[in-house]
Structures are given as structure tokens and as C-alpha cells.
Amino acid sequence: MLTDEIQLRLKEQDQIFNTEDRGFIEVEHERERTLKVTQAQLKEILPVQAAQNIFDISLNEFGPYNGLDVTRNGKNILLGGKKGHVSVINWKKKDLKTEFHAKQLIRDVKFLQNEKMFAVAQKKYLHIYDSSGIELHCMRDHQEPKLLDFLPYHYLLVSASKLGFVKYLDVSIGQVAAEIKTKRGEPLCMQQNVQNGVICVGHTTGEVTMWTPNMGSTPVVKMLTHPSAPVLSLATSRCGKYMVTTGKDSKFKVWDIRNTFQSVHTYFSPVPAVTSTFSDTGLIGLGFGNEVQVWKNAFAEKQKAPYMKYRLPNKSQVSKALFLPFEDVLGISHASGYSSIIVPGSGEANFDAFEANPFETKKQRQEAEVHNLLQKLQPETISLKVNTIGMIDDAAPDVKAKEQRELEEAQIEKLRKKDRKKNKMRGKAKIGREMGNKTHQVHEAMREKNKLQYQKEYQKTKQEQDMLENDMEFLDKIEDKFDPLESYFIQQNKPSKRQKF
């Protein structure tokens, strides 16, 4: 508990350090609603510098843009189109840092410690590129990666594969720190809890599981969030207390992930939301169809209507939405490009330059990288309770002794188990015996029954895959010149720099 004196001191400090104010929308009448405010209106009201943050980039060829990420200081965004287009943009200056074609299917993209490096989950393997688009590494032990996340304080790149593995790669030494079998099939969504580094994964079973690299293949938390419906997306709040999940059952739920792991409020969306995101200040962004909704105070009390709403132009389908840190901006990547809209009050107004500095110079970036590397945290220290390090273990000595004893006994038991002879039960697997087995017969009957359905499903997925491959065939025909974004910018009469290499 904070004492009054400390609180007073914090308040004083707050007045000295935090000089910027948060954004807001204020309506004059009670009947007026912030929901009615459109981006076009905002563009007119706001000063030119702020209004510039409302823009669209239309990129029709290589979408949908599944991969969207932003650096921790909110300066650069990384776009990854499913059909292989990767680009890094300084979104504020509309300055194209790099773009290239991976010539492969892309599932996800992620910045590493800063904008100088990023990881791309491609069709077969995980690739790491540098800021000029040169491939630095191809991680072959991360097969068919689907979702990516990065723990900046641990320098861990986390990848969830289509095969159901979650792998932690220590990018400072290039070694796999941990490998987890989720045993729940293909994961659908993954995000870290920024405050404690626990990885939350959503599954087709409707479960959300939370993982740490030191627990083997047992999750630290299992939550059945959407019974009988796959979890399509999840997001954790910046304060680490709340989580939002969206399911195929068209619900989206807010969860308390600090103590109770219970749902706080349940909301409905017209169609299942495919993406969700939390802002610095606790706004929730949801994307479904060609619409994006922003909810305010959704976990404090049950809301009746969203705070803001936005429809994408040309009925483009939303892929991913992301609140950009320290700005009142929501970035949306969709089937035909990227859109940036203004959501007043979504960003933290006062940044801390020692953590993430939107205006950092080259020298500052380099020094910060060295300092962060020096104080890199060990992967084994990740746990649900974040403050155990540096606390005193006030357990009684006999409790500690008991724990120690139990640990030793468990180890001895493990060794004993290893030595124990296996009960082989010879003759059990004889073919005649197996055919006569009752469960076997039931199983066979079921199989017969489901055969048609299985075949149908198989054909459907095969068709999809073939379509995709046909889609990708044109990639081989791409000539040396590949500049969809640059040409787009030129079209917009915006001269941009292109790095030559």
C-alpha cells in the first residue's frame, strides 16, 4: 500500500514531469454521442499537423496485410502482406524506410528490440531481416510459424507454429530458450502480457492458455473463454490487469487476469471480431468485416455503445488493428492496404525517454540498445507474479525445508521411474485380438460414418491450398523492380527516399 506521503510525492512529481495532456472528445449535449464523430469531421476540426495522421495507403496487390507491428516508441510501422510484401514506414513523415518482396507467403511480422531488425513468419521458416531488407537469419527450427511476439526486456522472440508449438528464441545469443507443446492444435492468436512477460495463446478449443518458458509443457493458466467457439483474437492491457478475447460466437469478453481470471463483462459484436487491441490508456479496439470499433471504459463498467466507429473505404476487410503508442492513432491493416485513424484519448501523453523515446537520435538508440542488453532478464525469471525478484522470501524455515525436501523426493522418484521396468504386456497387439476389441469396432464404425465428411474437408483444404499456390505463382514472374509502396507514394505526389542496396 502506498502511504499518503508517497502519494503526495508522486503527485508533486507528476506535476513537474508530466506536462502534456491526454486527448479527448467532449460533447456539449447529453444526447450527442462521440460515436457520431467521423474521421472526416475530425480532419476538419483538428489542426493540420494532427489531421495529417488520418490517411490511407491502398495496396491492392499483395494483401491482405495480416502482419502489422509498431516499434516500442511508435515511430515506425512494419507491414506484412500475405502475398509477400514487407515494408517499414516512418508513418508520421510518410517516409518509406524499406520494402521488399519475400517471394513467399507471409503470416506475421514483428519488430525486434528496435526498428533496425524485424522477424517475418514465412511459409516454411522464421526469417530475420535488418532495416535495409537484408535477410540476416533463417531459423529453420521454427517450422511453419504463424504468430510472433517479442519480449523486449528478455530479448525473446516468441513464435507459435501451425503445428502447435510455442518457441522462445533468445535473439541476443541466437539460441532457443524454451520449446513448448501446447497440445491444442493450431493456435489462432497470441499476445504477451507486457507487465510480466507471460505469453497468452488462444486456441480453436475456445481456451486461452498462458505460458512461461520455465514450466515445460504445462500452462501456468488455462481459461475456457469461449466454450465451443474458437478464440479469434486476444489482447492484454498495458497495465497487465485485463485481457480481451473475441470468439467465433460473436462475443467479446473482458477478463481480469490479475487475480480471479474471471470474465468482467461480456459484449456482443454483429459478426465475430478478427482482431482486438488495447491502447496505452485502456481503450479497446475491435475489428470485424470492414468496421473498426473503439470501446472506452469497457472493463470498469458495462458500456452500451462503443466510443468511436470507423468503416474502411472500398469495403476492405480488416486484418489487424493496433493502437500506436504515445499517439492518439489507431493503425488498421486490411485487405487492401493500411489506414490510420485518430482516436482522441487513446495515447499516453507523457513518454519516458529512458524506456521508449519517439524522438530518439541515432546515438540514443545505440546507447539504449547496449544498456538494455546489459540488463537483459533471464528467461527463467518469467512468472505470473512479477515482483518476486527483489522481495524477501518470508516463508518459515521449516516450510522452506519442506519445499526443499519435496523437490529432492520428486527428483529421486523421477530417477526411480526411469529405472522401473516397463510392463510390456506381450501379445496384446495381435491383429486378431485387436479386431475383436470392442472399442476398436466402435472406432471403425465411427470412421466409416465420418469418412465422407473427412474426405470433403480434406478436399476443401486442398482446394484452398491449391488456390493459394496459384495465387503465389505470379510471384515468380515479378521482375527486379518491386516498389508498390514507393509507386503509391509517388502517385500521391509525395517524394520519398528509397534506400539503395
Binding site: 508522486l10 512529481q13 507528476d14 514531469f17 508530466n18 502534456e20 495532456d21 491526454r22 486527448g23 479527448f24 472528445i25 467532449e26 460533447v27 456539449e28 450527442e32 464523430v37 475530425l42 476540426i45 483538428l46 489542426p47 499537423q49 494532427a50 495522421n53 526486456y153 507486457v194 507487465q195 510480466n196 512477460g197 498495458r238 497495465c239 496505452d280 504515445f326 499517439e327 492518439d328 485518430i342 482522441p344 495515447g347 499516453e348 501523453a349 507523457n350 513518454f351 519516458d352 525517454a353 529512458f354 524506456e355 521508449a356 523515446n357 519517439p358 524522438f359 537520435t361 546489459l374 540488463q375 537483459k376 532478464l377 525469471t381 512479477v386 515482483n387 525478484i389 527483489g390 522481495m391
Partner: protein, 462 residues
């Protein structure tokens, strides 16, 4: 109408205006959300600070090899950081300039071992520095630095000129050991088969003290009560004398012989003695019935001790070829120095600026060490200083954490010391076991509980 405000930062406000400006750093320390893993990162920084201390721990500065025999004794000038003199087993005295780390004058002073050297504690501004020496040839000699300089200049053409003449030379009737100059009078005391007090002008001692004891090996004047002398003798005794009277003040005996002695300059009622049983004992001269503290860590006899000018630490030289630094109020040493080539250390000095340690050893070398092994020697920028201070604070905060403690406490030791330490530990445990068994099977009077601080003392006599 609606009222709307968004975050809109003017980039120029957040950047430096000209190249000469300092970079602006905006902080938000009150928002905990912006600072995840604060504790864990701080712990990591503390670990790094501990490791960096080990990396930068390079205490050895220089070895100076001008003696041709083992160094037996060292003396420092209390008012001058540069003057150091050393005596060796072949009777040579060398005057060193510590600033240049070079020998200035090599003096053929005695026919045999130089046993004692002491500066006259002249003030820094006085024109001449006087020092006194004693040797196995029963000679007491008074040297003046001015006189030596004059002789040196006179004989400049002669290379290797060593036969300087002292200001005065007295012959003692008795065998001599060390010598110590008084802090405020032109007097000095010599130890030997008797304790003698000499003045500059008289060729015979002013006073002679005898307690029917064996040879007295070390005498030291008290820096505050300047008439009081402490001494240790070969018959395991520690004796206090007052030169105003004719007899000794007090005498205690220990179970083993003491071979080193030093007064604490800041708490002048306390003195430490180095024992041949490898321990160092702090005594209060007003209360000699038990030691104030036992400092254990050496594994062989302690041969010399010198206090830091601040009185917070003292440094010991030992027969086990190591130098250790003890806090004055801690039973265990803070630091241990050793090299492959250093043999038994006969003499030790703590420099008057608290930064250096000078050791003289049997291998004829005089070595200079830093008193804080990881402290940088260069002048530092304010930011460097701040960083070091922060690291120091972190180490202090996490000093009880077992991982940080393990790094900070570990010292590499020669194999023979590690082995001997293990043996000592086993001996200690078995002794303890034995006495416990005796207590179990006998009356308590057969094996009474005696505190360690009294155990090593014999009966006290007045």
C-alpha cells in the same frame, strides 16, 4: 459541436536546437505502466555491478626490486606521501620516492639485518626529515635526509655510492630489534633484550625498562598519549610502559607469541597485535582481560600490521605469502592480495592518503597495491563518478542476496592456502566435537565455556 483534442507534439521542442545543446530527456517516473520489470532490471544491474567490480579488480601496481636481500622493515613519513624507506637483511636502507616509484638513495647502514626503521614524524614543512634505524650490529643510527642529499651531491661522480654517514650513531649494550620514534618529542624507543629510550643528544639510553622477560620484539608509541609504549615480546607477552615512570604498566600473556603491533590512530586506546597462531587481536588498553575482537583469516603467522590513516581499516602481512585488509570492526578480511612470486611478507604500510598499500617481502621486492582493488586511478568525469556511486549503492542494497554475495565475496587463493583452510576447518570442528563430548560426560568445571576472545589469553599480571 464537439470539442476535440489530440496529442500533438512539436518535434522541434523535443530535439536539441543547436549542436551544442544537451540532448533533452523526458521522463515519466510516476507511471508504473511505462516501467515494467523495474525490480528485476534493478537486480540485473546489481549483478552487473558486482561482476564489473570483479572485472576491474586489478590491485597490483608495481614491484620495485632494488634490494639484494629480503626486505625486513618499512617506514613511512606521516606528513609526506612521497617518502618511504625500507631496510633489508643485508643491512641496506633504501630511500624511495613513491611519486616516481624509484629508489633515490641506497645506504649501507648496518653490518647485518636492519631491524627497525622509523621516521621522526617531522611536519611536512620542516626543512629536514629525520629517520632512525636499528640493526643486528647493535647500532642505533640517526639519519637526516638533508645530510644524505648533500653527500649524494658531493659524490655524484661516484656510481653506486652507498657509504653515507649518519647524523649520529650510538652503540647499544643490548641486542636490538625494532625502533619507534616518539610522536611529539625528540625521543625514540628501541626493543631488544630490554626496552630503551634514547634521545638525539645522548649516546646512552635515557631510560631502560626490564620486566625479566625474554627479548622484546616490537615497541610502538601511542599516537595520542605519547608517553605510552606498547610492546610484544618473545615470551608471548604484551607489555605496556609509561616512559614518565620507571616501571611497566601492565602485562598480559597470550598462548602464542605475538609478532606484530599497531595502534589505531583514530581510537588510540585500541591496538591490534598479530599473533603467530594466524589471528589478529584488537585490544583495549584499559581492559586487557579479554580481546575486543579476533580477526581471523590468515593461515600462518601475522608478521606486520599497519593501520589506515582513517582508522577504519588495517592491513596485515603474513607468513602465508598474502596480504589481507581487515575492517577494524570485522572478524573477517575484506580483501586478500597475493602473487605467484611474492614470498612471506615481512613489512607492510598503509599510505597516508588511504589509497595505497606498500609491502616488503622476503623475495627482495617492494610492491605497491591499491587499497581498493577496483577503484579507478584516473581522474573521473562527473558522470563516471555518478555511475560508480550508483553501482556502489546497488551492491549495498543487494549485498545479502546470495548470488550477488557469492560474486562479491569470492577471492581466488593459492592452492596451498585453500588446502590449509580446509584442514583448519576440520581441526576446528573436531576440537569442538571433542570438547562437547567432554562436557556431556563430565562436570561442567572440567570443560567450562570460555569465550573465544579470552581463550587465547594466559593469566593477566599487573
Amino acid at each position: 459541436m464537439v470539442k476535440v483534442k489530440t496529442i500533438c507534439r512539436n518535434e522541434k521542442e523535443y530535439q536539441k536546437q543547436t549542436n551544442n545543446d544537451l540532448l533533452k530527456v523526458y521522463r515519466n517516473p510516476t507511471k508504473a505502466i511505462l516501467h515494467p520489470f523495474q525490480k528485476a532490471r534493478e537486480y540485473q544491474r546489481a549483478m552487473n555491478a558486482a561482476k564489473l567490480e570483479k572485472i576491474f579488480a586489478k590491485p597490483f601496481i608495481e614491484a620495485m626490486n632494488d634490494h639484494s636481500d629480503g626486505v625486513t622493515v618499512l617506514a613511512k613519513n606521516r606528513y609526506n606521501l612521497v617518502d618511504v624507506i625500507s631496510g633489508s637483511a643485508d643491512g641496506e636502507i633504501i630511500y624511495w620516492n613513491m611519486g616516481e616509484r624509484k629508489s633515490k638513495f641506497i645506504i649501507n647502514a648496518h653490518h647485518n639485518f636492519v631491524r627497525g626503521l622509523s621516521f621522526a614524524n617531522n611536519k611536512a614543512l620542516s626543512a629536514d626529515s629525520i629517520f632512525v634505524s636499528s640493526g643486528d650490529d647493535k647500532k642505533v643510527q640517526i639519519w637526516s635526509l638533508q645530510g644524505i642529499k648533500a653527500q649524494y651531491e658531493k659524490n655524484e661522480g661516484l656510481k653506486g655510492f652507498k657509504n653515507y654517514t649518519p647524523r649520529a650513531s650510538f652503540l647499544s649494550k643490548h641486542l636490538l630489534h625494532n625502533i619507534d620514534h616518539s610522536y611529539d618529542q625528540n625521543l625514540f624507543a628501541t626493543s631488544g633484550s630490554v626496552v630503551q629510550i634514547w634521545s638525539y643528544e645522548r649516546s646512552t639510553p635515557l631510560q631502560t625498562f626490564e620486566w625479566g622477560v625474554d627479548t622484546v620484539t616490537k615497541v610502538k608509541f601511542n599516537p595520542s598519549e605519547t608517553n605510552i609504549i606498547a610492546s610484544v615480546a618473545l615470551d608471548r607477552s604484551i607489555v605496556l610502559y609509561d616512559i614518565r615512570g620507571n616501571t611497566a604498566l601492565e602485562k598480559i600473556a597470550m598462548k602464542n607469541r605475538c609478532s606484530a603491533l599497531c595502534w589505531n590512530p583514530y581510537e588510540p586506546m585500541n591496538f591490534v597485535v598479530g599473533n603467530e597462531n594466524s589471528n589478529v587481536y584488537t585490544f583495549d588498553m584499559r581492559k586487557l582481560e579479554s580481546a575486543k575482537m579476533i580477526h581471523k583469516d590468515h593461515i600462518q603467522a601475522v608478521l606486520d600490521i599497519d593501520f589506515a590513516p582513517t582508522g577504519r581499516e588495517f592491513v596485515t602481512a603474513s607468513f602465508d605469502k598474502t596480504i589481507r585488509i581487515f575492517p577494524y570492526n570485522d572478524g573477517r578480511s575484506r580483501e586478500v592480495y597475493h602473487t605467484k612470486r611474492m614470498q612471506q611478507v615481512n613489512a607492510i604500510l598503509y599510505s597516508m592518503d588511504n589509497n595505497f598499500i606498500i609491502s616488503g617481502s622476503e623475495d627482495t621486492n617492494i610492491r605497491i597495491w591499491k587499497s581498493h582493488a577496483a577503484d579507478p586511478m584516473k581522474p573521473m568525469l562527473p558522470r563516471e563518478k555518478e555511475k560508480l556511486a550508483y553501482n556502489e549503492k546497488l551492491k549495498k542494497k543487494y549485498k545479502y542476496n546470495h548470488e550477488v554475495k557469492r560474486i562479491l565475496r569470492h577471492r581466488h587463493l593459492p592452492k596451498f592456502i585453500v588446502k590449509k583452510k580446509k584442514v583448519k576447518q576440520i581441526q576446528k570442528i573436531s576440537k569442538h566435537k571433542k570438547i562437547e563430548n567432554i562436557r556431556k560426560n563430565n562436570r561442567l568445571t572440567d570443560a567450562p565455556y570460555i569465550p573465544d576472545r579470552k581463550k587465547d589469553l594466559d593469566t593477566v599480571q599487573d
